[in-house]
Symmetry: C2
Subunit: 234 residues, 2 copies
């Protein structure tokens, strides 16, 4: 079947969450709470991401949006780091650092090229508001915003991938999932999606333990999104 | 409150459904079924729109997407017009004429200006796939696609407006509903939205019986989307 749409993982695949958060939060904490180790805070914050979603996926929590999960884990980590009690405005600003992440340098030019030939959308665990704000700020030229919040399921639940296909009115085989994470691609592939692995070997910094390369048989393996555009004839 | 997002009615407000359908379908029927009066078919097709959605809104039908409703009313109208039995491919092409509508001449330049200052989204009874295809073809620069399908309710049910506010993580007072239809604006206004009336007095052609002007006290009344951009300081 002809590919008509590309759906993208966002955190790590399109934006450099770790570099962005460290860069934005370092000067902020330096002036407000210099005792906080920002690099560890950022790595631990991301470390809380999968366990917090898994509580929703296992049904231990009712549907809870990612912004709320981010806020809860932030408050726990700040308390554990001995940070002073910040006010509501500061906590919202900190949590919304995830709304202000910076794309990898190839993401905007790659997406601009891919958009000419395909419908392009995030398919992320981020919220609609987060993904919209992030795209507007960074210039990510999405045709629409698809994400877990619309289906009240987190990846890698099948409802997310199949929900996207249903809204696009496409067969899974007409959609290519693009991600830097093998488990995301394997979950999509199992449901009939085409797949493209993007190498982002520095995503997790020194803590990176996996996803250094493709661990499955994917439709495409690309160095970055400009390379993917080239491979797809854009 | 400061307005942060604008949500737009699409059929009639942003695109000229009647002119587009008549222009595209006239040559098609002339060669395939010259006995069909295309202008009446188009007007009757749109005439079936509100009654078909009302059956869903009243609970007589389970949730049914607009593409399915369009297809059902098309088949009834073709049969009534004595048209020959078309094949599946033709029926899909005809139904998807709603995916290929042309914007009013002010829509793209107006939205491009409005997008610089506000998050802009459709808030339409069209499907995600329809609105995405339409935007891509016509160059409507939406930041995201919001529509009835996401909430499984048709306008003017409050779930549509409140659902959009929830996904945008905004208070209704931070959103302006933009429409050429008084009932849409009044429904949004009742829920706390700001409102902008756009005059589209030729939308329904000779059958137009209402919406020649504002029938409520709206935040703005504009001649078109470029005029609205001017009024909002874009």
């Amino acid at each position: 079947m002809t590919i008509k749409a590309l759906t993208f993982d966002v955190f790590g695949t399109v934006v450099d969450w770790r570099g962005s958060l460290i860069q934005e939060l370092t000067p902020w904490f330096a002036s407000r709470a210099p005792g906080v180790d920002v690099v560890s805070l950022v790595d631990d914050w991301r470390g809380a991401y999968v366990p917090s979603m898994d509580r929703v996926r296992r049904g231990e929590l009712p549907w809870t949006g990612l912004d709320t999960l981010h806020r809860q884990s932030l408050e726990q980590l700040l308390a554990a780091a001995g940070a002073p009690a910040f006010g509501e405005e500061d906590l919202v600003w900190l949590t919304r650092a995830w709304w202000r992440l910076t794309p990898w340098s190839d993401s905007v030019p790659g997406l601009q090229r891919l958009k000419k030939k395909f419908t392009i959308s995030p398919l992320s665990n981020g919220s609609v508001a987060l993904l919209t704000a992030l795209a507007k700020r960074a210039g990510l030229p999405w045709d629409l915003i698809l994400c877990s919040e619309l289906f009240r399921h987190y990846k890698r639940d099948p409802e997310v991938y199949l929900g996207a296909a249903a809204l696009l009115q496409l067969d899974p085989a007409e959609i290519m999932m693009v991600a830097a994470h093998n488990d995301d691609l394997l979950a999509a592939q199992k449901l009939g999606f085409a797949t493209a692995f993007i190498g982002r070997p520095t995503e997790y910094g020194p803590r990176q333990t996996k996803d250094f390369g493709p661990e499955g048989s994917y439709t495409h393996v690309a160095a970055d999104l400009v390379d993917l555009a080239h491979r797809l004839g854009c």
